[in-house]
């Protein structure tokens, strides 16, 4: 068992507390105008993954996919339940985020590598491969902000995939880049899975999910609708749901 989630629930809070000052806070408290809304972004999700599994998470917007991934990667702590993980996790939650526009491509690569928990020695050894795979050899010393968005996501993908984590989390990652790179990255993904890594993929492309994943988790409004290795079955039912054939 490389990753196990047991009855994980994450309570999210939103409301007036963002971007307000002390003055505003006190005023609102006095006027009883201060509201904080709590809701369960993820509620009662349980699943487990073995080595080499590729999990596809599907669900409409607001289903709690990103929140679940944050709980898996340890950025958020589950309010209830627990997450057990073994090995290193590389999470690509949003491409380009966490990169610094003023630093060069090379500096950003090292910084990202460090954030993903790799050592300097490892980065020194892998750096050429990463840049090579991302096809950015000529742009190494350019500031990151001057890159096109395709280049940025290529770099992000290369860093996360070439460092060979035990668990790789990809949130809407494969849908970027041009056709050629997309093919290349899908091949890379297969290679990683065959190498024994466990991967979690969030994608709105059902076709991609069907082709690549070995297990499916379907979330709806934070709740777990289905989980299992029956990729086609779950995807068909999800497709029917999207077409409005039934309601949840």
């Amino acid at each position: 068992m490389i990753l196990e989630l047991h009855d994980v629930a994450v309570r999210y809070i939103t409301g007036d507390f963002k971007e307000i000052g002390i003055k505003e806070y006190v005023m609102r408290k006095l006027k009883h105008n201060y509201t904080v809304r709590e809701f369960w972004a993820v509620d009662g999700v349980s699943f487990s993954l073995e080595r080499g599994d590729m999990l596809g998470i599907i669900g409409t917007n607001g289903a709690g996919k990103s929140t679940l991934l944050k709980a898996v990667s340890g950025i958020m702590e589950p309010t209830k339940g627990w997450v057990k993980r073994q090995g290193t996790i590389a999470a690509l939650l949003e491409l380009g985020s966490g990169f610094d526009g003023d630093l060069t491509v090379k500096e950003n690569t090292y910084l990202r590598g460090a954030m993903l928990g790799y050592t300097r020695k490892f980065m020194d050894e892998t750096y050429r491969d990463i840049i090579g795979f991302a096809e950015l050899e000529e742009h190494e010393d350019r500031p990151f902000k001057q890159l096109s968005s395709g280049m940025k996501s290529r770099l992000a993908f290369s860093i996360a995939s070439l460092v060979r984590p035990d668990i790789l989390i990809l949130d809407e990652v494969l849908s970027v880049g041009d056709g050629a790179f997309r093919q290349k990255s899908e091949n890379k993904m297969r290679e990683i899975i065959e190498g024994g890594a466990t991967t979690i993929l969030v994608s709105h492309s059902l076709q991609q999910v069907r082709e690549m994943c070995s297990k499916i988790l379907w979330l709806h409004k934070g709740r777990q609708i289905e989980f299992g290795p029956d990729v086609d079955g779950i995807c068909d039912r999800y497709q029917d749901f999207l077409n409005g054939k039934f309601k949840l």
């Binding site: 963002k18 000052g21 003055k23 990667s73 950025i75 999470a91 966490g98 003023d102 630093l103 954030m115």
Partner: protein
């Protein structure tokens, strides 16, 4: 055991990269670069020296050194806390996407201010020579207030950076507070003329303690009492304790506020 070692090693790498990043970002656009951060306290000193000597410096030996002690400590405190305040929020894009220890951002900023402090300290010693100060072995003891100051700054920085996530107007309040603190830290005046009670009240101000320690060693060549040492150490540890407690308590809540 091996994994703990790996963890420390990888955070060490991340920390280094963060320091490098902050460094490059800060000095990228100024041609004077690091010289500027040494120059600005010197200019402050120059102005104070010209303006206040007539009022506060009469009949006082080494008034320049007296002023410099105050400026040196206060500007370190001011820079460290003011810049540290935004360190967590400024890296929200990182810590909301990658699981990294959040205090590293503040530490990285503090390394930067420490380097500036070190440079200014060298200039300070040059000024001491020019001002005819005799160097004694007691100067080594300055390491104590410096260590306490660093811990104190980190503590205040932790508290402020956490508060800044919750309340953005802390920035302005802190600006006003540091201004008031500057006038209360006896940077350019002496406290001899106050009554004993008031003189003791000054000891409640940690920044004043650091400044006083510097002046005792450098100008008067005397070692402060044990109580003075303990008070200073306690101030630093209390602030650091509160800061760590806040980070521990709100570690997973910061995310909701960014």
């Amino acid at each position: 055991m091996k994994s703990i070692f790996n963890k420390i090693n990888s955070y060490h790498f991340l920390f280094g990269e963060l320091v490098k990043r902050d460094f490059k970002k800060k000095y990228k656009r100024t041609t004077l670069g690091m010289a500027w951060s040494v120059l600005s306290p010197l200019l402050m000193l120059l102005v104070m020296r010209m303006v206040f000597t007539q009022f506060f410096g009469r009949g006082m030996d080494h008034y320049t050194t007296y002023l410099f002690c105050g400026n040196l400590v206060f500007s370190c405190f001011n820079e460290s806390t003011t810049q540290g305040m935004t360190s967590l929020m400024g890296n929200a894009a990182i810590f909301s996407k990658v699981n990294v220890p959040k205090y590293l951002f503040l530490f990285s900023k503090n390394v930067q201010t420490l380097i500036n402090f070190g440079l200014t300290l060298c200039v300070f010693f040059v000024f001491c020579i020019l001002d005819g100060i005799t160097f004694t072995w007691k100067f080594i003891l300055l390491l104590y207030p410096i260590s306490c100051l660093v811990l104190f700054n980190i503590g205040v920085g932790l508290i402020l950076s956490a508060l800044f996530v919750f309340f953005r107007d802390i920035q302005y309040l802190w600006g006003i507070f540091t201004q008031l603190l500057m006038y209360m830290s006896a940077i350019f005046y002496t406290i001899d003329r106050y009554s004993h009670t008031v003189q003791h009240l000054f000891l409640l101000n940690p920044v004043y303690l650091f400044i006083r320690y510097f002046r005792k060693i450098v100008i008067e060549a005397t070692i402060p009492t044990v109580w003075f040492h303990l008070l200073m150490g306690a101030d630093a540890l209390i602030m650091l304790g509160i800061g760590c407690w806040m980070y521990k308590k709100y570690n997973h809540r910061f995310l909701y506020y960014v």
